[in-house]
Homo-oligomer: 608 residues x 2
């Protein structure tokens, strides 16, 4: 009789994962990086969110794994790998939610195993730190009492404590972290820092939290759906609209600052900042409600909007044009323009939103398309693009926001486009008629350099797309006129394109996008520091507006940069929610003097 | 061979419950009230929250069940009884979560079966309406879109809609429901009415939502724990303190009003109200920020605090006393009284809180105990009294706030004290030393007329207890002096008791409680209406301050009263959360013209 060798995949998913985790932990305990690396498939990805690397980084293939471990194993001392629920298996991939510990903290993650050479090997591994030992957040069973039972002569009330903190912060006490910018990014980070007991301050130029949204054009609603948009700690109630109107989000943010006790100064403008090696702190000049003040934080975070500074072309004739002219970020909305001729330069989200609202208010609207744009219909995107992770359907299937964030984070950027392409092919098929109408109207449409669609465009360049909520049909039908080409100059009453086309205009809106976030750094600190920091955002995908080399992660976002004690935070609500955790933990570790040796600090290949 | 008859209890809990529900539904479908009533144990309780009775009512024993069904079955047309999760069995009681439908709505409930005469019979049944068919709340999968995809010439933004509503409400449009009082009760009800699309308005005299809490003495923290205190729709984040400080709750309420879009007028005082049979509406005179205005709602809700109007004894010498004198509800806190002699009349929650804070601020404090008081220590109460329903432990065991509310509501008031007595016996045992110290200090302590403790005192009379958060020890140790007896009069600088004891005082605080809520009705409408409405609160338990006859439910709360279109709403945060649902559904049904025949409208036995 011949013996049958049972291949590993004949075991059940739980056994398979348990065996892999045991092998992995044994190799790590033995400090055998090579042996550990052989547990990964020949093509594999390990993404670490600050649990091994004190960085946000992805290594590839056994060689990358070996390198990561050789540099991080001694200080990380990982143990206690275990599954947190039963693994599942589908299409040859075994997926497991895991937990583990390190010398300094506790982590969770997601592991995907495939079979290679008759053995279960890791195809993707996500490891993420979620708390520091001894610095657990006061939540749930560890929530504060709120009062001190007993009778004490030195009792102060919650209100007195809040007042005292407000009076001393920035004068007799200094924030350890200063966050410049109090939009969703700054607010989410501020809430996490408060929870972690990190003395922090968020400053923002607007009079009230939420004004970043209130001040935008009046028809603006979120283009991302509610399930994708939660902030940390406090979820929207389940009556929250799918696409929240800007003023409703603004009110939420304002309430959130109060409820989460985010230390927040409104009407505060930062005017300059400089780092001193001598004192080991930043000197930041601010004006709070017009009064100058010097702040001396140890850590400086820019949360000024991942889109960076408005990009306003310096065109001939801007000074000659007699009508209204402004960047889309300063567009007041359509009310004043009924019966007027509006020319909107650009064909991305803001351009379409603004064109739609102007048309609805009886303006005569022309859109100037300068380059090809990707459009996907909102309903289709919600269903095919996000539905498995962020929807009522996902919630019903047990995919909470927190799980969805981790699943999302576990898909390696290197191959993310390969998952995206089929989804966008399906969208193209579903909305075939729509795209035919668009093309017929002369609109130049694309699906990204490699057909990977909207989300990759967002990650690579943060521009080049419109989530259609209705205005695309106005272009199809000619209700919004379409012009093609680059703007050459403005006259007293018209926009003139390079081909000589003259577009009569009473108002011109430049929906021409934004420059890299490090422009804010140049303004506040200096150009040298901005250059040393380098370009922010993008993956180095070597596609349009995202030059190579490959970076592996979003440039400079939420992680250590080439400028010590300077951090960049931002992104949409999803990113502000999820990545603020890792940025907050990095800052907390530094406050507490916990060693944070950074593996693979990113190099700078582009200055802006 | 003899045949063995299998008793019903040998089946598994699911089969047992399914069989009971099938029998019950068959009897109901056959309109056979008698047959249905025989499915109930000889001692049994059916509590209905507006699903059969359009009332909040409990019937007892088969006779009560038969009466309820004979009066309600035709209009209710109940069907589709089913379990919503697997029933459980313990100590001879089978417990099942159920759902059902009626002609007009959907209900849920809790059923407890016991064996009697060899058959499973209902011991307790709770039935509760949770939504009206065709009027389901826009939540979850039915949440609003927030925007209207497409291009529309008549589009208005969310903000414009809110502004238009604010401008017209009370002038060109009238609220269907006017809620007087914007504390937690009015706010919770306002949120539910908004969700149900009932045109409503909440008015409150204070400048800002939450001021009802802000204006209280500064040391005040909730005596109920966070798990018990959630509002509808939006739960506190899990970093919320166990016992929230008053100013933090105030900020939450203010944010909640914004986030839930509760139609709310601050700085608005209602000065008079009258009902017209002719027009079928109330005429309510209000002053909004000083400007008189007439409102004409169809339904009037008092949410002015279940404790009613402050009870301030009319004592000789009040006009002679030269120091500060005020009711506990107007006590400013201890800051001004360091080194002063304070006499606090009363020995309940407010009295102890105020004594404690005054002592902490170095006042010389005397408490005057007029009658016996029940004290239970906060930690003990949380653990033994509430822990199974409202705690992290309960949450971990799957007892959500919503489930806890239903379990709580399912315990019949008639026998609730029998469940409570053993719990308080356990508390007495645990804190034996503490009670000995109290007694030794001369404090008169009780456990309620029948030893059933705090919660029964709350339901029966809303007074007579202190949840000890530390001040009791000050009485034990003599740091807060204790005097016994009734106050006879005040002199220029002292409180004189009936036995002649003179207590020198610079400040006198009357922590002397509150009168029945219908005092507000007398003030705003007239005494005749207040008398017709009758006493509010209490069960008719024939115990101290809760005269019989037995009412079966809290008098006049959240349900139809003898005064048409007049409703009383209130209670602690738990009751404001849970019972606002049933009050809101009753109001919605009336708005929509859905028939609401009221079974067993309560009679009035006491006028106040």
């Amino acid at each position: 009789m011949t013996q049958t060798v049972e291949p590993s995949t004949s075991t059940d998913p739980q056994q398979r994962v348990d065996r892999w985790l045991t092998d992995f932990e044994e190799a790590l305990t033995a400090a055998d990086a090579d042996r550990a690396s052989r547990l990964f498939a020949s093509t594999s990805f390990w993404r670490d969110l600050i649990s091994f690397s004190w960085n946000i980084t992805t290594v590839e293939d056994p060689a990358g794994v070996r390198d990561l471990l050789e540099h991080t194993l001694a200080s990380t001392a990982p143990t206690s790998f275990a599954t947190s629920e039963s693994p599942t298996e589908a299409d040859g991939v075994t997926t497991a939610w895991i937990t583990f510990e390190t010398a300094t903290g506790r982590g969770n993650g997601l592991l995907r195993l495939v079979e290679e050479d008759g053995k279960a090997r890791a195809w993707t591994l996500l490891t993420a730190l979620y708390e520091l030992k001894g610095h657990e957040e006061p939540r749930g069973t560890h929530r504060p009492m709120g009062t001190r039972h007993g009778a004490f002569k030195d009792r102060t009330t919650w209100k007195e404590q809040r007042q005292q903190e407000a009076e001393t912060l920035g004068s007799t006490t200094q924030p350890y972290v200063l966050v410049i910018g109090g939009g969703q990014g700054g607010i989410a980070l501020g809430a996490r820092l408060r929870q972690l007991g990190v003395p922090a301050l968020v400053v923002d130029k607007h009079p009230r939290p939420g004004d970043q949204w209130r001040s935008r054009y009046k028809s603006l609603c979120l283009h991302d759906p509610v399930w994708y948009d939660h902030l940390p700690y406090l979820k929207y109630p389940d009556n929250w609209p799918v696409f929240a109107p800007k003023d409703k989000i603004a009110d939420w943010l304002e309430s959130y600052v109060t409820v989460m006790e985010v230390p927040y100064w409104s009407s505060t403008v930062a005017t300059s900042a400089s780092w001193s090696d001598e004192t080991g702190e930043w000197t930041v000049e601010v004006e709070r409600e017009g009064t100058p003040l010097t702040l001396r934080p140890k850590q400086l975070v820019f949360a000024t909007g991942m889109s960076g500074k408005p990009r306003m072309p310096d065109l001939p004739g801007l000074d000659v044009f007699r009508g209204d002219v402004h960047h889309s970020s300063a567009h007041p909305g359509p009310d004043a323009y009924a019966g007027k001729r509006a020319v909107v330069i650009g064909s991305n989200n803001s351009a379409f939103d603004i064109c739609g609202a102007l048309w609805e208010h009886d303006a005569d609207v022309t859109m100037v398309q300068r380059s090809s744009t990707h459009i996907v219909r909102s309903d289709t995107l919600m269903d095919i693009g996000l539905g498995d992770l962020y929807s009522e359907r996902a919630l019903a299937a047990g995919v909470t926001t927190e799980k969805a964030d981790m699943i999302f984070a576990s898909l390696p950027y290197r191959i993310l486009h390969t998952f995206q392409i089929p989804a966008y092919e399906a969208m193209a098929e579903r909305d075939k008629d729509f795209y035919e109408r668009l093309e017929k109207a002369g609109f130049r449409h694309d699906w990204g350099d490699d057909g990977s669609g909207l989300f990759m465009k967002y990650l690579r360049r943060g521009s080049g797309y419109y989530i259609d909520v209705g205005a695309a049909e106005l272009v199809c039908s000619g209700e919004v006129k379409l012009a093609q080409g680059q703007v050459d100059h403005l006259t007293e009453d018209a926009v003139v394109l390079e081909d000589g086309t003259s577009l009569p205009a009473d108002v011109v809106v430049f929906a021409t996008g934004y420059n890299s976030m490090n422009g804010w750094v140049a303004d506040l600190i200096d150009q040298e520091t901005a250059d040393r920091l380098g370009k922010c955002w993008g993956l180095g995908s070597d596609t349009t507006k995202d030059p190579g080399p490959w970076e592996g992660e979003q440039r400079n976002m939420w992680k250590p940069t080439q400028v010590d004690n300077l951090w960049m935070h931002g992104g949409n609500l999803h990113q502000s929610r999820h990545y603020s955790l890792y940025l907050a933990l990095q800052l907390k570790a530094r406050l507490e003097g916990i060693p944070t040796p950074v593996y693979a600090l990113q190099e700078v290949h582009h200055t802006g």
